[in-house]
Subunit: 379 residues, 2 copies
Amino acid sequence: MPMNRVCEMTGAEFPLFAFSHCRDVVAAVSKAGGFGVLGATRFTPEQLEEELAWIDAHVDGAPYGVDVLVPEVIDPRVRELSDNKSRAAAIDPAYQGFVNSVLGQYGIAPEPEMPILKERMGITPENGLALMEVAFRHPIRLIANALGIAPAAMIAEGKRRGVPVAALVGAKEHAIRQAEAGVDIIVAQGTEAGGHCGEVSTLVLIPEVVRELARAGHEIPVLAAGGIMTGGQMAGMMAAGAQGAWTGSIWLATPEAETSEAFRDKMVAARSRDTVRSRSRTGKPARQLKTAWHDAWDAAEGPGTLPMPLMGMVSEPAFARIEREAAAGNEGARELVSYFVGQGVGLVEQVRSSRQVVQDFREEFLEAVGGLAAAVGME
Amino acid sequence: MPMNRVCEMTGAEFPLFAFSHCRDVVAAVSKAGGFGVLGATRFTPEQLEEELAWIDAHVDGAPYGVDVLVPEVIDPRVRELSDNKSRAAAIDPAYQGFVNSVLGQYGIAPEPEMPILKERMGITPENGLALMEVAFRHPIRLIANALGIAPAAMIAEGKRRGVPVAALVGAKEHAIRQAEAGVDIIVAQGTEAGGHCGEVSTLVLIPEVVRELARAGHEIPVLAAGGIMTGGQMAGMMAAGAQGAWTGSIWLATPEAETSEAFRDKMVAARSRDTVRSRSRTGKPARQLKTAWHDAWDAAEGPGTLPMPLMGMVSEPAFARIEREAAAGNEGARELVSYFVGQGVGLVEQVRSSRQVVQDFREEFLEAVGGLAAAVGME
């Protein structure tokens, strides 16, 4: 019997939703009874097709989903720039100079020219919609969107195919707007989350969103996102009104993930205080492991950050460079290694397989529920 | 039978700890089965004596506690200033001018001279210790401290009298230092909390602190603080490892509280996003309802904030003035009304009596535990 409504809607046995850019994580989580969601943003449509075909072949029929980003609001500074070449041309060369100076302080030699992102498409509405079309060609059980209201095309196609549409929000007003647009599942994401996030904590946001949706007459399940690394926390957010957990950072510390060994080592060592919510990687506030990169961009005397997607066009080649240098043994580069990760990084004690993480969540979840039941004499 | 260890230690029937500056809240919560804790910082020793005598006479023998602030680290700029007069003399007159200009923009006429806080003692180590001595003369079942390691005198006296000492922390390292100093209960307070707070969310901080204490061999109960306004959230944080909840903001929305009607109206209207963590009221980062006051002080072109306790000597007379003007019907002053409150303010929907709040917590708690137990088939 499904545990609750969100399990019925998605086919998840245990409502642990795992966002990952890595197909291996997605397949492993779904096969273990959770629900893997592939983050599609970094793929071209052709690459995404290949990834989803792989998942279809390896997931043993277990349910999975896809997450795309279709930004609702485009910064006026980039609205007229329709391809990566014109976008790159719009970036003041001073930015590359600043990148070179930051990297140079950590022993990474300068690059004379701004590398243009070719393979990676950038976070734009047209790219998001192209990825969505690919996703719908596969037997997905969920499609998720962030950075604004889910587009009408996604909601219509989801309804037509019976695929629930989930939307990430960081404030109750946004949840209401999504519900009014026809979204089926709300992922309420707290400020402690890795990647793009708002300012309100998960613990406060969950009951606030659940109540506001109920008051407005929307019977929509809410998943809790931000800071959840254990089954005890997951049970906790379900006690506070969520129907399950939406997780991201925990999967970065699995051997299947796209992360480097250098970053996973940093995850194990990091405390919860070692992250920062900064615009310096994507152009929008996103939480990541804090390094000198963030200090430099967020400093008053720096050049300031660029709008999305320009900021990523500057930062991503730099971080790729940092990773290469770190992998080659450059200790300075290792200091700069960073990635999107939430405050929950302080709870990562070791690298575990995705399958093991799901099993641990399930055990911790049962233990937490049993402990609470015993405390109130329900044993 | 006590629900858990923290109930055994303190005599609380239900581990809902209520921090309040108002004796009526303290007595009402304790009588309803929770555990009231009187915030003593704003009283002189004589006033505190009076407050505690009142509680003793009205609490019907139910257990209660006292919270004092003995700051561990004193800013070098104020170390030599031993009384409020010398402290006031050390404040640049430009600060009063800035206050007058901020208030003036909201229709509050300027005051020519800096009023010196006479009655209120200011947050200093000697004042905290004087209040502690008064507290120990009463039948308290808990003494709590914040702003650093609990002083040796408090721990020694607590042990001698069998009164558990609790310490508020915002990071796992601080929890370990408190445990090593001999503290009996850790209150781990997340960034969403009202008043002084750190940067890590409650949801992440609780398991992080619980694990770190266990790893170091300290068998110390942890209470969860920050953002908790419902019994469902309380159950949630207990699922995540806490033994109970330490709450503050929720009691500000009771008719018994020291808050003004203007502020309680604002609490009911506020969203969770309407708070700010700012140094502009006490000199240390403290979360409060966001107004133009905070924008002005936190702006780059402002005069900057002062160290504790000087900042409070500037801000408190200003806020007292704002409250008086607001009560007299000045709409501009009403806009500036603010107080220490957490992000949970977004969950306040109405003013309820303290007794009702405790009852609601207990019902919500049981409902949340029952819901989780049913979801895992434990019914």
